[in-house]
Symmetry: C2
């Protein structure tokens, strides 16, 4: 049963210029790269709201105003599109933060870095949601894509710790702590939207800075209670 009924394709209306059905004018064709971009936008939108598993390619297609095969043509499949979306976002945040901490004293860099991240959270909430969500193959190990960011920050910290004479083995703790702080507060901020991000960044930077600055060479436990 191949091609059972004869009217394949989209004839739109009966004859070329007829406006009988008042059908909305078909959107103009896009170039490959333009269509790619529009699909990425739609994908980011849907992935951010539904999460990877729960999004259907069809919903993305619908939002991008194309049919499914177009997506498969451009990205090979759901996972391919997801990979591109994630990569773009990751690249964007890292670039922004890198710019922010390129110069200045330690504390200034800390505050500017936090502010850069929170600005991203504010201006690109969908991207942030995707990065904060689980990766597709959750079993692998990463809870969120942002773990990667934690590693990068930890590397920076390791260098600084060594230079300052602290125990370098503790650096990843502080690196991940910082990223976790900013991420979680950023997440909260998206719902609260209360103090402006500049203020939030200042608080976070103060917390982290004071905590780091006053750190003893080897932190000592306060000791466990009797109970």
């Amino acid at each position: 049963m191949v091609s059972a009924n004869g009217h394949h394709g989209d004839q739109r209306d009966g004859s070329r210029g007829a406006k009988l059905a008042a059908m909305p004018p078909r959107a103009p064709r896009l170039s490959a790269s333009a269509r790619r971009a529009s699909i990425i936008d739609a994908g980011r939108f849907v992935f951010a709201r539904r999460g990877y598993e729960a999004t259907s390619v069809e919903e993305i297609a619908e939002r991008a105003k194309v049919s499914k095969p177009v997506i498969y043509e451009h990205f090979g499949g759901k996972e391919g599109l997801y990979a591109v979306v994630v990569d773009r976002e990751m690249d964007y945040v890292v670039r922004r933060i890198s710019e922010a901490i390129a110069q200045g004293g330690p504390r200034e860099r800390l505050e500017q870095g936090a502010l850069a991240f929170l600005t991203y959270v504010k201006d690109h909430p969908d991207g942030f949601a995707i990065l904060a969500h689980d990766a597709p193959a959750a079993g692998g190990g990463m809870l969120s894509l942002l773990s990667d960011l934690g590693v990068r920050v930890s590397e920076v910290f390791t260098a600084s710790f060594k230079a300052a004479g602290y125990d370098a083995r503790a650096a990843p703790i502080y690196g991940h702590a910082l990223v976790g702080m900013v991420t979680f507060v950023g997440q909260w901020w998206t719902t609260a939207r209360k103090p402006p991000i500049e203020e939030v960044a200042t608080h976070i930077a103060a917390l982290a800075w004071m905590g780091l600055r006053r750190l003893p060479k080897r932190p000592t436990s306060i000791g466990k209670r009797a109970g």
Copy 2:
């Protein structure tokens, strides 16, 4: 076409005592509550690895050594089981942390709280994974179930801030920052497993304590650079 072939059910082997096929002995029947418990265990296991969307009820059934309808009998469905699993875990962590911070001075409570959480991460990695993952209806607002914990900690902080004369509006920032720190570091620890949790807790508590203790009444930004 109802009951097409006559051999419904499980006859096991031909006659009662025959051991011809060497079939493994059927597991004994369990009471309703015991079966419930075993299903909850299986559910936690699978949900933790696959995430909510990607887990199939059948995989849970298989792991619990029962057939699907048993799960539907006990929990009404996938979402019902998930709700029970999450509720149990949430209850467990909150209880542990509450016990840990029930007495002692501020800093001691801080360190004991962090240690309690990290102990949970270490001893109940599956539960932690579930709490750190997305909720089913991701669109609602919560990134992770732990946001709820952030709110609770924020409430504690708000009270303390008021008492100490700090700006109470900033309390949620510090509350969420603390939870984010511990969560993210805990996540990292599950893969690194390097410094013992007691040491990690000490570091985190030191960071948070020093940061909080030396906090000015109103943190001032370091100011933006010229660039």
